[in-house]
Subunit: 224 residues, 2 copies
């Protein structure tokens, strides 16, 4: 059935693959479940079951009934391509069109589905082959290769030491606006002043200013 000589996937199919890729990053393992996929895509599990049959037909995912879902090599290729487009567009919006950090994601969600290899290549060139998007996430190159994902978050840093913010995990507008409000940004140095035993509330110092942030917040800031 699948010709493999470049099928054109629907908007929806691309989103399923992208979501699976995201889950495989987050879970560490290459696997994902129906429910978490449904939650991420804001659809019902039954809908996911339907779609998985189709994606399996097309040899984009692999799974057996009641088992875990994994992307096939082909499926992953398509997913990475969408991710590449998403991050290139984010970079374009941020660097060329003067969008703010927290505005780019939503629009890139639409732009990532434009089908034109030439467009992606030319955009990549226009942006001078960027390796990271405005959120600090790596941009896959044409071959699908990219720098490794960060794992250490602000919540993992020891009290009294410092670290450098390199990316964010949560791309929601709400979160990003909060980040900005705290005076934080990519490559900023963060010093952990103290940590509350009870609820892991952190006191951090950024550019000389001390703020308090919750554990939840800290888990969404990648650092080195």
């Amino acid at each position: 059935m699948p010709t493999h000589t470049a099928m054109i996937l629907s908007y929806t199919e691309e989103n399923y693959l992208k979501a699976l890729l995201k889950l495989s990053f987050e879970n560490g393992t290459e696997e994902a479940g129906t429910n978490e996929l449904a939650a991420l895509l804001s659809v019902k599990p039954a809908t996911v079951s339907d779609m998985l049959k189709k994606l399996k037909e097309k040899e984009l995912v692999e799974y057996k009934k009641y088992g875990k879902i994994t992307l096939t090599v082909i499926g992953k290729k398509y997913a990475i391509d969408v991710l590449r487009k998403h991050r290139l567009w984010e970079t374009f919006l941020y660097e060329k069109l003067d969008f703010s950090w927290d505005e780019v994601h939503e629009v890139a969600e639409q732009l990532e589905h434009i089908h034109s290899e030439k467009l992606v290549d030319k955009l990549d060139k226009f942006l001078a082959y960027p390796q990271f998007d405005p959120h600090g996430d790596p941009i896959p190159n044409k071959k699908g290769e990219m720098k490794v994902h960060y794992k250490k978050t602000l919540a993992d840093v020891a009290v009294g030491t410092s670290c450098k913010m390199v990316a964010v995990k949560d791309n929601s507008s709400l979160f990003l606006q909060y980040v900005v409000k705290l005076g934080l940004g990519i490559n900023n140095k963060i010093h952990i002043v103290s940590k509350q035993e009870y609820d892991a509330l952190l006191h951090i110092k950024v550019n000389g200013v001390i703020s308090s942030v919750s554990q939840k917040f800290a888990e969404n800031i990648f650092v080195v």
Copy 2:
């Protein structure tokens, strides 16, 4: 039913409105018929009948059974907005990404459906508020205003006189590549050397080179 405080139209609905606007330009009148609309959209007349009911519900078009179709003021506003986006994206692709003249249309057909007012505004600014796209067609401004459409084509020019090419009517790749091959482009001077009585074949001189073009071709070159 229609809230009028900015409904979000589907990809398909936008294409119907855009097609109606195009037909109203081409026909001179503000009217269009079911069949020509179907032909332009590559769907069957029955499909158009269905969709027209929906667009009428939403107060985007006006028509009565077996009557002519016209855009409402609101419908036209949406159509012009799509046209604006289409031509801005074409300009972007041509000027910033180095696409060739005949490649921009197809990709812009996709990009024109991205929903983000901010994106359009920023793109417009980035391109320095262009008034014409790479094909010589006027780009509506934010208010929907644009320079008048050209009406005179190369086929209307008298033998022995000259004219200046200002735009093309056909945006197909095939046509545009042919235009390029003839050494023609926007703002080029064309001299009509002679015209065959029998089939209206034209002999034209462009940059000192004489070529023969059919009537069909001549009708797709706008001139002043």
